[in-house]
Amino acid sequence: MRRRRINVRMPAIGGQGAVTAAHIIATAADHAGYHAVSNPFFGAEKRMAPAESYVRIGIEPIYDRGEVVYPDVIMVFHSQVITMGKSYTMPFYSGIKRDGLIIINAEEDLLSDRDKAFLESLNVKVFNFSATKFALEIAGTELATNMAMIGAFFGITQIAGMESIEEGIKARFLKKFVASGGTMSLDSAIERKFKKKLELIEKNINTAKAAYELANQWAKEQGIEPWLPKPQEVARV
C-alpha cells in the first residue's frame, strides 16, 4: 500500500525525549525531501507523567495541526503506557488506521489477546523490541531510548536513511551550539564540552543505526515496502 501521508503518535512518559524524537524525525524527513511537521502535546508535562508528541510526514504540503487522533503509526516509548494506562487515549491504540504500525519499547509482549484480535482485524503490524536495552548497551544510557525508537521508525517505514537521521540528530544537538560560539574562538573549556557533545552525538547515532538495521530486517521479513513514494518520484509525477 502506497500512502501519501504518515501521521505518527508517540505516547511516552515525561523525560524520555519523545518531543525531541518527534523533532528529529521531522527534521530527518524534511532533509530527505518530504514535507514534515512536528509538535508536542499541548499541556504541562512532568517526569514520569504521560507525555505525547506527534509527527506528520507527507509528499504534499501539510496543513493539519495538533494531536494526531487517527494515527498510521503509534510509537509506544514506555511499557507503562500500556500497563498503567499512561496515555492520553485509551486504549493506547485508539484511532489507529487500517494497515497501520505499532512500535513498542518493551522486552515482553504486553498485548492481550483482545488487543491482538482488534489490531489484526485492522491489519495493524506490531514491532515489539527493547529500545531501552539498545540504548543501555550501545550508548551506555537509557536516555538514548528515543534514538533507538527513531531508528526503528525509519527502519520499518524506509522513508529516510541513516544520512537523514544523522542530519536530524546533529541539527538538534549541534546547530545552536555552533551558531553561538564561532569555532575559532572556542576556549579549552568549551572545546572539552564540545568534544563531549560530539561523543554524545556519535553514541546517539550509533544507537539509532543499530535499531534501524534490526527494524529494517524485520520489515523485510514482513514484506513491508517503503511507506511513502521517494520525493524524487513525486517530483517526476
Binding site: 523533532h23 508536542p40 499541556g43 496543513y63 495538533g66 494531536e67 487517527y70
Partner: protein, 401 residues
C-alpha cells in the same frame, strides 16, 4: 518610505531595505523551526526599538527570545512588566516616545491588559501585539482556543490571523509597515492559535538576517509623539470630557469613527503586502464552502482534500487573513455559487460565524452553518470535519475507524 540612493544601516548594523524587498524579493533559505522561534526571526529583521514582556503560556518562549535579541543588540529596549496590564501600558509609553514596539500575550493575559487596547487605538499608537491565543478561564485552560479574539474585535486595533509559522513571520513584518502608514497609524494584533503554531516545528523560508525594515519615523505620525495634549486627542490631561459639553461628545464620537476609518484605510496596504485579504483553496467549482481563519482554515483545507479526493464532494476553503479590516467584499465575491457555508472554529461562541453572517446578510442567501466547533484546546481532526460534512449530506461515513 524614505527614498534615498544611499545605503543605510540601522542601529544593529543591518542594511535597511524596503518592505517590498524584504517580503517579496530577498532570497530566502529554508529553516526548520517553531512559531515562537519565527517571532524572533521576524523581530530581528524589523528594526524594533522597544519590547516589554510578561510570561504566560504559550507565548513565554517568544517573549523570552525577543529578550535574546535585545542582548544581541537587535532590539533597543527590553524589560519585563509587572503584569500584562503593566506591559501594555508601558509599551504604550514606549510608542508615545516614538519607538517601534512589539509585545506578546496569550489568553487571560489579554483580558488583564484589555483596557489598554482601545487606549492604544485611540492614541493612534502603531504597536504590534503578537497574540498566541489560548482561550479564557474558567475552567483554566492553557491549550489552543481562540475565544480572546472575540474580545479584541472591537478595540479599534487591526487584527490579522496567521495560519502557519511562515505567515506569522511575513505578517509581523508587514504588520509594522501597514500600522505605521500615516493614514492608518493604529495598533496591529497578529494572531496565531497558540501551540498549533507556537509549539509546532515546520519548514519556514527566511530572508537573510543582515537586512531589516527602515526604522520607524515617528514624525510621520498623525499625532505628535509624546505630546498627547493636542487636539483632537487631549488624552492625558484636561481632556474634553472635563468640559462636559457637546464638544466632548462630538470629539469622542468622531474620533471613534476616525479610528475605525483608519482601519478601513489599511485595506490597500494590507492587500498589497499580504497578497490579498483572503486565500481561496480547493475545488473552484465547490458548492460546499468552508469560511475560516487561522488553524481552523488549515484543518478545513486538509478536510477539503479528503472530501475532494476520497469522497467525491466538491469543497473549497475561503480563508480570511484579516479580521479587522473584515474582508467583506472579498468574502461576498468568493462565496458566489456556494450551496452551504460551514464555519469551523476553535472557540465556544463562534465569533467568526457571527462575523460571516453579518458580512453576508442581505448580499447572499446561503445557509451559514457554525460547525464544526471545538473548544478548550481540543484538536479538530480533518477526519472529524469530514464526518460532520458527510453526515450533513446524508452520506455514508467510512473514514473514521
Amino acid at each position: 518610505m524614505q527614498k534615498t540612493e544611499q545605503v543605510q544601516y540601522n542601529r544593529a548594523g543591518q542594511r535597511v531595505v524596503s518592505p517590498e524587498y524584504m517580503l517579496f524579493e530577498a532570497p530566502r533559505t529554508k529553516h526548520f523551526m517553531t512559531g515562537s522561534e519565527v517571532v524572533k526571526e521576524a523581530v530581528k529583521r524589523s528594526s524594533v526599538d522597544a519590547s516589554v514582556s510578561y510570561p504566560i503560556t504559550p507565548q513565554s518562549e517568544a517573549a523570552h527570545m525577543i529578550g535574546e535579541l535585545w542582548v544581541e543588540g537587535y532590539v533597543g529596549v527590553y524589560f519585563r512588566g509587572e503584569s500584562e496590564f503593566g506591559v501594555m501600558s508601558e509599551i504604550a509609553g514606549c510608542a508615545m516616545a516614538g519607538a517601534r514596539t512589539i509585545t506578546t500575550t496569550s489568553g487571560p493575559g489579554t483580558l488583564r491588559a484589555m483596557e489598554n487596547f482601545p487606549m492604544w487605538a485611540g492614541s493612534r499608537l502603531p504597536i504590534q501585539l503578537v497574540l498566541m491565543a489560548r482561550g479564557i478561564n474558567s475552567p483554566l485552560s492553557i491549550q489552543p482556543d481562540n475565544l480572546e479574539v472575540s474580545f479584541l474585535l472591537d478595540t479599534g486595533c487591526m487584527i490579522w490571523h496567521a495560519e502557519t509559522a511562515q505567515e506569522l513571520f511575513d505578517m509581523i513584518i508587514a504588520g509594522f509597515v501597514v500600522a505605521e502608514q500615516p493614514d492608518v497609524h493604529v495598533p496591529i494584533v497578529t494572531v496565531v492559535d497558540g501551540f498549533f503554531i507556537s509549539h509546532t516545528r515546520e519548514a519556514v523560508m527566511l530572508p537573510p538576517d543582515d537586512i531589516a525594515l527602515p526604522p520607524y519615523n515617528p514624525y510621520k505620525a498623525p499625532m505628535p509623539p509624546i505630546d498627547m495634549e493636542m487636539s483632537p486627542g487631549r488624552f492625558l490631561r484636561d481632556p474634553y470630557v472635563m468640559k462636559s459639553n457637546y464638544i466632548s461628545y462630538a470629539t469622542h464620537a468622531s474620533w471613534q469613527f476616525e479610528v475605525r476609518a483608519a482601519i478601513e484605510r489599511s485595506r490597500p496596504y494590507a492587500k498589497h503586502l499580504l497578497r490579498g485579504l483572503i486565500e481561496e483553496f480547493g475545488d473552484p467549482e465547490g458548492d460546499l464552502v468552508f469560511v475560516a481563519s487561522g488553524t481552523a482554515a488549515a484543518q478545513a483545507k486538509e478536510a477539503t482534500q479528503i472530501l475532494i479526493h476520497e469522497e467525491g464532494v466538491k469543497a473549497r476553503v475561503v480563508r480570511l487573513k484579516t479580521l479587522r479590516p473584515f474582508p467583506t467584499q472579498e468574502l461576498i465575491q468568493a462565496v458566489q455559487g456556494a450551496k452551504y457555508i460551514f464555519v469551523p472554529e476553535f472557540n465556544v461562541v463562534g465569533w467568526l460565524e457571527r462575523e460571516v453572517r453579518r458580512a453576508l446578510y442581505g448580499h447572499v442567501d446561503i445557509p451559514v452553518i457554525g460547525s464544526p466547533r471545538v473548544a478548550g484546546g481540543m484538536t479538530m481532526p480533518p477526519e472529524f470535519i469530514v464526518k460532520e460534512i458527510l453526515q450533513f449530506l446524508g452520506k455514508e461515513v467510512k473514514h473514521v475507524v
